[in-house]
Symmetry: C2
Subunit: 111 residues, 2 copies
């Protein structure tokens, strides 16, 4: 790749892309689903549910956390995660804004 071109795009474009990237893996979607189903914050449970090694799950959790989609706190020897609904709503709004706004304009396909 040699040169990063992502910087040439707008902040909004980058933010939306980063959000999409965070949920662009089925494992991370599965994790979000588990976290959303139980209000109780889980962690090791996710490892049991997903067909992935503990280290891999931990890595996916880290990515989701870095993207701001989940919150995590240490509770003794275990970690408690949950969905950050606010971040989620923010991104959903940005998403809808970008594409619904535009949709009203034209609607019909041309090809």
């Amino acid at each position: 790749m040699a040169i990063h071109k992502k910087e040439s795009f707008t902040n909004k474009e980058q933010e939306l892309a980063a959000f999409a990237k965070a949920i662009s893996h089925p494992a991370r979607i599965a994790i979000l689903k588990v976290l959303a189903e139980r209000n109780e914050c889980i962690c090791g449970e996710i490892v049991d549910i997903l067909p992935l090694a503990q280290s891999t799950v931990s890595q996916h959790l880290k990515e989701l956390k870095n993207a701001g989609l989940i919150l995590g706190t240490v509770e003794g020897p275990r970690s408690c995660y949950c969905i950050n609904w606010k971040a989620f709503e923010k991104f959903m709004a940005a998403f809808s804004f970008l594409f619904n706004k535009l949709k009203v304009q034209n609607e019909k396909a041309c090809c």
Copy 2:
């Protein structure tokens, strides 16, 4: 990676992830924006607008097309693209369904 684990997840999880992956790059979001702004289907215009080489833009267009988010037809020596609103709506619905449905259940964060 050696072993693909994506197959271990549900179809819905994979579809949603694939959709997210398609829009997980700022260049592709920028392309979608351009296509949505003009009902007229563009192609070479995108190359002029984006800070990327023609081959790179073509590659991004291909990915968007493969993901079903845009439609493309050849018009003589040029290609005409436009947004596939139906696919977009379908995925937006799946998206909202997955996360809004769950959101109603609990709403409050626990961490």
